[in-house]
């Protein structure tokens, strides 16, 4: 994935969420803004046959995986044209036929599901692998321990990506997790791990690519901690607990500005080029909204379909 493509992907996520948040009918949402580089960097290391799973904070992962913004917007706004017909919605986005196995809104609930998908990939024997993005809060759950142990024992092709934004709702990571670095949790199991700045999309991509290659080669699981930021409050229903001053520092660490600056410094992008990419993202988001708006809500009878 070339540098401009990663920038484009991050811009799409940022603009998509801004547009969604402006909608009075958006309902309950969790945003990825500030962590775009995590999802985009990881997805840059994935192949078509691979599968990505995520936590409920899944707009970034879904778009980074290349799911059509129209479908994502429709699903999030509860329209029948979403991949799940509007049934999944926030926290449960999924498009497995395009490599997004799905989000799951239960914290840490997707870890052992991802290990199961990785077991399937291993049994298939076609060099496919599975990546699972979860938050720092999920690192306090026993599911991580059980998943690391079994994935290591069975050398499952699984990349565990901790999107560490330093917060679980209002609780600082330091108050919830004893380890100095969350990536240290992998060590006892002999699982290779790395901890890096999750606002550096190239660093995420390169490390993820290395771990993915290992997994495909039968090297087993890996653990990648990405220190990111959360630009919005926890959810659209949650009050912000950080001070204005603190927020200024948070917004400083913008993965998009960082990426754009790097490309400009390298002469691969100029102001006009950036403006063009932003306009392009705006256009895709506008198109996605138009698509969702033109789509119907599901028939109430759908409440009873796809149950058993």
């Amino acid at each position: 994935m070339d540098p401009l493509a990663t920038l484009k992907s991050m811009l799409l996520i940022r603009r998509f969420e801004a547009a969604l948040d402006a909608r009075p009918d958006r309902g309950f949402q969790l945003y990825s803004s500030g962590a775009e580089a995590v999802a985009v960097g990881v997805c840059a290391a994935l192949r078509p046959g691979d599968q990505l799973l995520s936590s409920g904070r899944s707009i970034g992962p879904a778009l980074a995986r290349g799911i059509d913004p129209r479908l994502v917007m429709a699903e999030l706004l509860g329209k029948a044209t979403g991949p799940a017909g509007g049934k999944g919605g926030r926290g449960h986005l999924a498009k497995p036929d395009q490599g997004f196995f799905g989000a799951h809104a239960v914290v840490a609930g997707n870890l052992n599901i991802a290990a199961g998908a990785a077991l399937a990939a291993q049994l298939d024997g076609r060099g496919r692998m599975v990546a699972c993005i979860f938050g720092d809060g999920a690192a306090g759950a026993g599911a991580l321990h059980e998943t690391l142990n079994i994935a290591a024992l069975w050398t499952l092709p699984l990349l565990l990506v901790c999107d560490n934004n330093g917060l679980s709702v209002s609780t600082p990571r330091e108050a919830a997790l004893a380890p100095a670095r969350l990536s240290d949790l992998a060590a006892p199991f002999g699982v290779p791990a790395a901890s890096l700045d999750g606002t550096d999309v190239e660093a995420v991509r390169d490390q993820a690519a290395e771990f993915a290659a290992q997994a495909r080669a039968g090297g087993g699981p890996a653990f990648l901690e990405c220190r990111s930021e959360r630009f919005f409050s926890h959810s659209t229903a949650t009050r912000e607990t950080r001070s204005a001053a603190a927020m200024r520092g948070v917004l400083e660490r913008c993965p998009i500005r960082r990426c754009a600056a790097k490309l400009q410094a390298a002469g691969q992008l100029d102001a006009a080029g950036l403006a063009g990419l932003e306009a392009e993202a705006e256009a895709r988001v506008a198109d996605a909204l138009a698509f969702a708006d033109a789509s119907p809500y599901p028939d109430p009878a759908e409440a009873l379909s796809d149950v058993v």
Binding site: R90, G91, V106, G109, S170
Partner: protein, 326 residues
Amino acid sequence: MSSEAGTIKLFFREAIARAVREEMAGDERVIVLGQDVGAFGGSYKEFLGLYDQFGAARVRDTPVAEAAMVGLGVGAAAAGYRPLVSITYMDFLMLGLDALVNYAAKARFKTGGQVTAPVVVKTTAGAKGQGVAHSQCLEAWLMGVPGLVVVAPSDAADAYGLMKSALRHDGPVVFVDHKRLFPTAGEVPLAETFGPIGQAAIRRPGEHATIATHGHMVRIAAQAAERLARDGVSCEIVDLRTLAPLDVATVAASAARTGALVTLEEGQLTCGVGAEVAFRVRESVGAVRVARVGALAAPISSNPVLEAAALPDAARVIDAVRRVLG
């Protein structure tokens, strides 16, 4: 301040906070464990102020680790404390059922009375736009676990009184509230009061049919009764308030008077609260016409159209009442 003498208007969430505050002030053994219960004050502000008043040692933010949260509360309870463990949504209580059901509910029995575990697990049931894994009502599972007390207040006064009683009970109690109740307000006695565990309440007297329900659904039942009243159909609403032990006598007496019973719950009907209430009432009053109302037999989507379609509403309750009245 107050509309009636001797009471004060409080939001449901404030009533919970008041009860916990009073119990913490009066008993050092009462502590609070939960996610974001500290400075943040709880997802629904139901713990607001406790952290400032009692400090970090007694109001503890925990990691996202429901199994350990319940286990810690149960263990501390068995060791002499009276912890309140907050499990944000009842869906996540599944992660803590081992400590609650395999240990706490059986501690007293298996030790021949040497150990009791006076823990209160407070958790929020019900759907409000949060989707398939954040909307479930699992009260019926807990009702069938010997050793557990289950309370489910429907208004601020009971939220206050039942939380007070739960924190004084000498065994494990599950306190089930509901997302849609926190912002509701009601009159709460100014004086310290304790809600009676195991006692239902008649919320609305009526002659033609009895509606037995609990929690947020009491409000739906009231809407249905209002509309039915306009057509001259008078419904008696029994708020179960405690699901274990179940106050069958009050429901049965009402059903015996009216001759018709409609059970109403937000959760699933199969092996649900209504199935149990109906069976026990029929055991004690013999012939009575019965219908039950609950969610459709499907997961509850966050989709506004599908959520509304799946949940019981006044219209469905009215249909059920008309059905039992033949």
